[in-house]
C-alpha cells in the first residue's frame, strides 16, 4: 500500500510548490509568458525583450532572471515552469535543456540521468 509521508509543501526538498504566494509574486512574469502563445507577441518579445518585460511590469529580479535565462531564479520569483518554458521555446530549447540549466548540469548529463532512471527519491 502507498504510504503517506504527511509532509507540508515547504518540507519537500528542492521543490518550489506553486501556491498562492508564488502565483501572486509571479503574476507579471507568468502573464508575460502566457502572451507568448500569440505569434505577434512572440515577435514583440524577440525584437525588444526589455520593452516587453516593461509592458507586463516584471520585478527587477524577474527581469534579470529572464535576461540571463536563470530558470531557477524564475521559479524562485514565482515563475511557473509551464509558462517559463514558453521563453525557452523562443530560444529553441527543449524542456530537458531548460531543466539541465536549472539544475546546473549539462544537457548531456541530465539526459543521461533520465536514461538511468531519473533522480531517485531522496537522491
Amino acid at each position: 500500500m502507498v504510504e503517506k509521508p504527511n509532509m507540508s509543501f515547504d518540507q519537500i526538498p528542492g521543490t518550489y510548490v506553486f501556491d498562492g504566494r508564488r502565483s501572486r509574486m509571479g503574476y507579471p512574469l507568468n502573464k508575460m509568458s502566457a502572451a507568448l502563445n500569440n505569434p505577434a507577441d512572440r515577435e514583440a518579445f524577440q525584437s525588444d525583450p526589455e520593452a516587453f518585460m516593461e509592458r507586463y511590469g516584471l520585478s527587477d529580479e524577474q527581469r534579470e532572471a529572464v535576461r540571463t535565462r536563470d530558470w531557477l531564479s524564475m521559479i524562485k520569483h514565482g515563475g511557473n515552469i509551464y509558462f517559463a518554458y514558453k521563453i525557452g521555446v523562443m530560444d529553441g530549447l527543449t524542456v530537458q535543456q531548460v531543466l539541465a540549466a536549472m539544475t546546473g548540469t549539462s544537457a548531456e548529463e541530465f539526459k543521461q540521468m533520465m536514461s538511468n532512471g531519473g533522480r531517485q527519491p531522496n537522491g
Binding site: 502563445n37 514558453k86 533522480r119
Partner: protein
C-alpha cells in the same frame, strides 16, 4: 442508455507520441512500450462513441488570470491550442455538447461546481493521449468531452475530491438516455518534476503501486494529500489525481485489460492502464 465501456489512465507528455510511433514501427524495440502501442487497438475494440478526456491545461487556454478548478467543454468542436510553437496541424476535435450539458446538469446540482466552456482550445495534455489512442486520422473517429483540472496552482482539488467527482460523472453518464458508448480517459503522470533542484525526480516504487491501486484500491489513492502526491510523484507528477476522476466514473469492481510503464519518456515516467467494469 449510455454505457461506460472503458477507462484508461495514460501519460500526456508530448514526447509520448513520437515514442509510441518509434515503438510501433520497430525503430524502438523496448518491450516496455508494448502496452502503449497496444492501447489504441484495445480501446477500439470497446467501440466508444465518445471519450471524456480529463487533462490539465499548461498555460494555453488558462493563464493565472483565471484558474478554474474543474472546467468542462460544452462546445461543438475544439481546436488544438498554440502553446508557443504555432497551432498544431491537427483536425478539430468534434464535441458532444448534448452529453456535456447532461453531465453539467447532473453533477452541478450534486455540488460539483464545474466551469462551463462553450469555447476551449485544448493543449498537449489532451492531444497527446488522443494521438496515442487514435493516431493521426483525417477525422477523429469519436466525439470528445474535455474536462480540464487545475493541477498547477495550489490549492488544487484533492485526490478525494477528484475521485468523488468521478463517481458523480459515472452516475451522470449512466443516466444519459441515449445509447452512447463512452470511454473515460484520465491523463498525466506518472512521477516527474520539472522545477527546482529536484527536477528529474522519478519514483518507480510509487508509480508501480499507483498502477496497481488505481485498479484495485482507489480509496487508498484518494486518501493521499496534495503534499503527499508532490513528495511522492513530483510537483508535476502530482497531476496523477486526474486518473482518480476516471477511476471514479467506472464501477467499484473493474478488470485491468493492459498496463504498462516505461522510464523515461523525455523527463517523465510514463504509464498506461486500461480497464473495464467487471462482470
Amino acid at each position: 442508455m449510455a454505457e461506460i465501456v472503458a477507462g484508461i489512465g495514460i501519460s500526456h507528455v508530448p514526447a509520448l507520441g513520437p515514442a509510441v510511433d518509434a515503438a510501433a514501427s520497430g525503430q524502438d524495440t523496448n518491450p516496455d512500450m508494448k502496452a502503449f502501442t497496444d492501447v489504441g487497438t484495445w480501446l477500439a475494440q470497446t467501440k466508444p462513441d465518445v471519450v471524456v478526456v480529463i487533462y490539465n491545461d499548461h498555460g494555453a487556454s488558462f493563464s493565472f488570470d483565471l484558474v478554474p478548478t474543474f472546467a468542462i467543454g460544452a462546445a461543438e468542436s475544439y481546436l488544438p491550442a498554440d502553446e508557443g510553437f504555432g497551432r498544431p496541424p491537427l483536425p478539430a476535435y468534434p464535441g458532444d455538447a448534448e452529453l456535456s450539458w447532461h453531465i453539467i446538469d447532473s453533477v452541478v446540482p450534486e455540488g460539483f461546481d464545474l466551469t462551463v466552456c462553450q469555447s476551449l482550445d485544448v493543449d498537449h495534455g489532451f492531444s497527446t493521449p488522443m494521438k496515442v489512442l487514435f493516431g493521426t486520422p483525417e477525422a477523429w473517429p469519436v466525439k470528445v468531452i474535455p474536462l480540464a483540472v487545475n493541477v498547477v496552482q495550489q490549492p488544487t482539488p484533492s485526490a478525494r475530491r477528484c475521485y468523488e467527482l468521478g463517481l458523480a460523472i459515472g452516475r451522470a453518464l449512466r443516466s444519459y438516455p441515449k445509447d452512447t458508448r463512452v470511454a473515460v480517459i484520465g491523463t498525466g503522470g506518472m512521477s516527474h518534476q520539472l522545477q527546482g533542484e529536484r527536477a528529474g525526480h522519478i519514483n518507480p516504487d510509487f508509480d508501480q503501486q499507483f498502477l496497481s491501486e488505481i485498479v484495485n484500491d482507489p480509496e487508498n489513492l484518494a486518501s493521499l494529500s496534495n503534499p503527499d502526491y508532490i513528495h511522492l510523484a513530483g510537483s508535476e507528477g502530482a497531476e496523477l489525481v486526474m486518473w482518480l476522476i476516471m477511476r471514479g466514473a467506472l464501477g467499484q469492481n473493474v478488470e485491468a485489460g493492459l498496463s504498462g510503464y516505461v522510464i523515461p519518456v523525455a523527463n517523465t515516467a510514463a504509464g498506461v492502464v486500461a480497464m473495464q467494469n467487471a462482470g
